[in-house]
Amino acid sequence: MRYLPLTPDDRAAMLAAVSASSIDDLFVDVPAAARLSGPIEGLPAHASELAVERHMAALSRQSHAAGDGPFFLGAGAYRHHVPASVDHLIQRGEFLTAYTPYQPEIAQGTLQMLFEFQSQVARLLGTDVANASMYDGSTACWEAIVMARRVTRRSKALLSTGLHPHYRSVARTMAKYTGDSLVDGDPSLEAGTDWAALAAAVDKETSCVVVQYPDILGRIDDMRALAAACQAAGALLVAVVTEPVALGLIQSPGEMGADIVVGEGQSIGVGLQFGGPYVGLFACKSKYVRQMPGRLCGETVDANGKRGFVLTLSTREQHIRREKATSNICTNSGLCALAFSIHMTLLGEAGLRRLAAINHGRAKAAAAELAKVPGVSVLNRGFFNEFTLLLPVEARPVIHALAEKGILGGVSLGRLYPDNAGLANGLIVAVTETVTEEDIAAFAAALKEVLA
């Protein structure tokens, strides 16, 4: 077996050194009744690199990859171009095959990178501090609700109807068992989010209001008034960003007064990967830092006075505080955070702004083209790179008909809200820099055909 260096002679010598007559002697503590003898049944024997590669390549070919044709899906995961150097650098063995930097003297590469990542994320989201990553946007969102409960000692969270329905599901799952109370609902295609009602609903029991920006339908709204209402009632405003590229063009939630900003960092550096691994972003005002979940990297000096970085404020974490920890997270999304950070470094502010503008321009062009299809209209007044189409028929069968024509035409609201017939005609369309004019034309033409 190519990954196992011990030779039969080594094994014999080592068994002798530990006074075992056979390997079975080392498994004596496994009760005889449960001990397996012989190879595990029902599984194949070892295979060569070539054979494994062939098997996996055959499976890969059974999917229609996003790059195989026109592609317009978003709704929490976005297809952006990732420069080749990102994937090269994250495969440096010193990054790829290291772990959590528990021994800072020999982990300054990871630690400095995390410090840079935290700084980039905090600036992008408009907050003071960010942590070293969470699993993904949806788990970061629940952690923010839990953190708001800790900060305010209240346990009612109001979820805006524009929050991603899967993020809302994750929160519901958890709240069912933690005793938190959630006020939530589906978005409406007839009207925008009722910000005044949301602000009016904030009361003395409210721990936080959770809003997504841009929201699940692609709408972008000013959250300043809501931030003020939260502050007046002693509640926190939690903003969720699932498409961070947008923040190259629109104001950050932190600037608008959000107390905690969480997000999905996938769209910068990480790639679609069928939903994971992604990278949860978690940031907040510095006054709440001791209530944050997850790892934090901080600056310090070494015994010779040289600047260096360490994991810090660990008394929040499970390995020190156990059942009193702020979260149970241990392994996070380090390598995806690195990919995010490298891609953000390559972009820089100028590149990010330009990328965002290109996305926005391309999306506007697509919206205009698609709105020309008979019976189709665009729901949004404002949007970044994602908008919702209203079709004259249910969107789900349309999606499948488009797929048959080789076009992946967006995410139907019917898939996201299967129980809400009122949303069935909605189709979320995302348009990034990877979409060409030809793709847009092909989509519009195919949509016209399918609807005819």
Binding site: D29, A45, R61, I250, G298, L355
Partner: protein
């Protein structure tokens, strides 16, 4: 931008007279200092070319006006920045990384290649189901391997890491109790458990109580039985446990817990020691997470990502989270909110946005296919042999608190007993750094004073182990003899010991231009 190199040499460092190891740059030949991105980049620089100009936006009052403060670098500078940073890291690719409980084994590069195939890497989680059959096939095939290897009823694939898997298992227990109309509040967790176990139990709303251990380092069955009762929802037991020992009484523990209506959660982070030798399903386990990033070698990536599928007993399977893949004849289908009412009505719900860690699934499956049933068994055997070899080659110079409890499994545990006054486990760890090794896990498990948990894994050769044994023996002797040079180790690393107290007292968590601090 800071002049010269703020991370290395500064004029005041020569104040006491330059020694012959001081250089102008702060570099020492191949040991290269690297400033922060924020010290070398600028917001106007970009390493990405675009084919078109930015069109005008019409975002009204929401348009970004203030600067963001994100520095950029050209591609050449970017490659150099991260390459130089990478060289300040220790990694498995450089040598033995015996971090106990973390299973730092070789990460095969075939798996990296496979994970990047477009049918896995370039597919969207919400694509129409008929367009992602290959991705579903991977998830399903991996699930079958996990079920077969563990002898369990089914598996929940979506948990994002071990701790998230624990949460999944514990929520299944909650849901199962609720379905029975019972409100049991207590989960019993041994003190030797990983911190995520009690943290998870609390995160899910359980009260945590300790399970006593025997002097030989295993669960005290009699004491456990005495505590069991109608308020106990279940136990969380790590097997093999964090002292590196197999819980001989696991089946009896499970039977006792089941007899009073509780459930058995097994922390399977150490499953790598027993793959192919024993199946948790035969020991009465109800739920167990498997860390694909440990047992099945998906890379740890400087802290993550991981992946923590949870195998489930028939009793808990009905409560498993959404979404999951099922096979109908020749094609695959997703069970999600829409059809759960019909196909999986008792689910506790969704615990992450999408399907889990696809990028880890492809790597783990490639790893399993490469080893096969025969190779995986050999993996466990070699891991256990390597650990026992270390244990018995060191237990005359380092105290092995459970050395008399029988063979260890995949990791060897030592304590700081017998070190000279003023010397601790930390000094041994830092000494190992100078010898070119990543230290073992230190101060865990908490049940052993100054714990040192050494996990060599199966991907180390005998020659590597022999050299490590020699190095650790020499450091142990230095610590016993009170060698003062050990107290200031490491001497040859990119940094000397770092001031963690300062970092926590005055947290600087983000770069700020000008004044220090944030």
């Amino acid at each position: 931008m800071t002049a010269l190199n703020s991370a290395g040499w500064r004029p005041e460092m020569n104040a006491g007279g330059a020694d012959d190891t001081t250089t102008f740059t702060g570099n020492r030949a191949l040991m290269l200092e690297e400033p922060l991105l924020f010290e070398i980049g600028s917001t106007g620089t970009t390493g990405v070319d675009f084919d078109e100009d930015a069109p005008a936006a019409d975002l009204g009052a929401l348009a970004r006006s203030a600067p963001i403060g994100l520095p950029g670098l050209s591609e050449s500078e970017t490659v150099r920045h991260y390459t130089r940073l990478s060289r300040q890291n220790y990694a498995i690719d450089l040598g033995l990384f015996p971090l106990g409980s973390c299973t730092m084994k070789h990460n095969p590069r075939l798996n990296e290649k496979v994970a990047r195939m477009p049918g896995f890497a370039d597919v969207h989680p919400l694509q129409p189901q008929e367009t992602v059959q290959g991705a579903y096939a991977v998830i399903h095939e991996l699930a079958e391997w996990l079920i077969t290897l563990t002898g369990m009823h089914s598996v929940a694939m979506s948990p994002k890491a071990g701790a998230h898997g624990e949460l999944c298992g514990v929520l299944c227990i909650k849901a199962a109790l609720e379905a029975r109309g019972e409100d049991r509040r207590v989960l019993l967790v041994p003190e030797s458990a990983h911190g995520t176990n009690p943290a998870t139990a609390a995160f899910a709303g359980f009260a945590v109580e300790d399970i006593p251990a025997t002097p030989e380092g295993r669960v005290d069955l009699a004491a456990l039985k005495a505590r069991l009762g109608p308020d106990v929802a279940g136990v969380m037991i790590t097997n093999p446990n964090t002292c590196g020992l197999f819980e001989r009484d696991m089946k009896a523990i499970s039977d006792a817990v089941h007899a009073v209506g509780g459930y058995v959660y097994c922390d399977g982070a150490n499953f790598n020691a027993i793959v192919g030798r024993v199946r948790p399903g035969d020991l009465g386990v109800d739920a167990m997470h498997i860390n694909l990033h440990k047992t099945f070698s998906t890379p740890h990536g400087g802290g993550g990502p991981g992946s923590g599928p949870v195998v489930l007993s028939a009793a808990l399977a009905p409560f498993a989270p959404l979404p999951f893949v099922t096979k109908d004849g020749e094609s695959f289908r997703l069970i999600e909110e829409e059809n759960a009412g019909e196909d999986h009505p008792k689910t506790f719900g969704r615990m992450t946005a999408f399907h889990g860690q696809m990028g880890m699934f492809t790597r783990a499956l490639a790893y399993m296919l490469s080893h096969g049933a025969d190779g995986l068994k050999q993996v466990a055997e070699d891991a256990v042999l390597n650990a026992n070899y270390l244990l018995r080659s060191l237990d005359d110079v380092l105290d092995a608190p459970f050395g008399a409890s029988g063979p260890c499994m995949h990791e060897a545990l030592f304590s700081d007993r017998g070190l000279a006054e003023g010397f601790s486990t930390l000094d041994i760890a830092k000494g190992l750094i100078d010898e070119g090794y990543h230290p073992m896990t230190v101060f865990f498990p908490l049940v052993v004073h100054g714990a040192m948990l050494v996990e060599p894994t199966e991907t180390e050769s005998k020659a590597v182990l022999d050299q490590f044994i020699g190095a650790l023996r020499s450091i142990a002797l230095r610590a016993k003899n009170g060698d003062p040079a050990l107290k200031s180790a490491p001497h040859f690393a990119p940094r000397a010991r770092l001031d963690e107290t300062l970092a926590a007292r005055r947290p600087v968590l983000s770069w700020s231009d000008g004044a220090a601090g944030d």
